[in-house]
Symmetry: C2
Subunit: 197 residues, 2 copies
């Protein structure tokens, strides 16, 4: 299974607790994730949880802040084969979204009330993903491969936004209408690409 969170300390008590905490956060939300259940799922006693983290809030806060999305690993160096590049990138992004849909959808409302969670991994990788894509698109514009009358930010939203919406919304609705990723990338490139037509 492909997970967003992989802590350095692989299977220490703390890491196990944080993983369980994130799982339950994804399933039942902040209030729904009880210390009892987190400890039980981690296979430790509830006292251990409090000895290690002091409070439920501290546990979840640390866990969320240690999320690190592996998006940049697949960010293509502008190979100038735009369609292939973007297809690989978006595929990876969709995988990430689907694997973490529950966590994302639970984190979103908490971010509004707990701004301290926004840093680092922030919105579960989206900002990092988007800023990587931003760089990539800016590079392309500079290289003259993409038209530059559109802000890279707007282009990134046009590329990733539909994938984000599809994953969250249809994930929540429990439906999965077909979506042609390749066609999406082509549609994105159409009109934006230069020197290739």
């Amino acid at each position: 299974m492909y997970l967003l969170a992989n802590f350095d300390e692989a299977d220490s008590t703390r890491a196990t607790l944080m993983r369980s905490g994130l799982e339950l956060l994804a399933e039942k939300g902040y209030k729904g994730a009880t210390t009892r259940e987190i400890a039980a799922r981690a296979g430790v006693s509830e006292v251990t949880l409090f000895r290690q983290f002091g409070s439920k809030e501290a546990l979840l806060q640390e866990a969320v802040q240690k999320l690190h999305p592996p998006v940049e690993q697949v960010l293509p160096q502008s190979t100038r084969n735009l369609e292939a590049d973007l297809l690989r990138l978006t595929k990876h992004y969709v995988q990430m979204l689907e694997a973490n849909q529950g966590l994302l959808v639970r984190l979103l409302p908490e971010l509004a009330r707990h701004p301290e969670l926004r840093g680092a991994a922030g919105p579960a990788g989206f900002n990092r993903a988007i800023s990587s894509v931003l760089e990539y698109l800016t590079d392309l514009q500079k290289a003259g491969l993409l038209r530059s009358d559109e802000s890279p930010f707007q282009a990134a939203v046009a590329l990733l936004g539909p994938l984000f919406a599809r994953a969250l919304l249809f994930g929540a609705m429990g439906i999965h209408p077909p979506f042609d990723l390749q066609a999406h990338v082509r549609g994105f490139l159409e009109g934006r690409q230069r020197g290739q037509r």
Copy 2:
């Protein structure tokens, strides 16, 4: 203020309670919205809440099911001026999203666990919006104004998805980078439009 929910019974005790319930649901989530606070905000006693609805769950369920998004009101009859049509439609959609961002983002995770909320107003208007847009786009395809090698569904996601993502994500992050709606619509039409080039 532009609200998603407008109940028929304008200011009965029940309607006031449901409105307060939705407000608190948006602010604090299902568990965070306590019957005490809902009643207080509605200006009635807590007992009244239970006499009227029997349970917190019944209150919120009824309230959510009575949400009705006024999207179709602005759905354009294919006037053949695509850019103007879509601009009006997307503007309206963005307004709706911004006004209801809190509710939406709280409703999304509940929908996964409480499928009974999916019906009717469901995902706070998105499915209704998308199905209206679907009809509109299908019409355009039939009229030969839009290329038809792409499914209308996919086109609808490409059009509305970025707006959805932008509203939810950046709303949650508390940032508001500029976004040119007109450019977005143009980008959408580019390559999709026919007979106009």
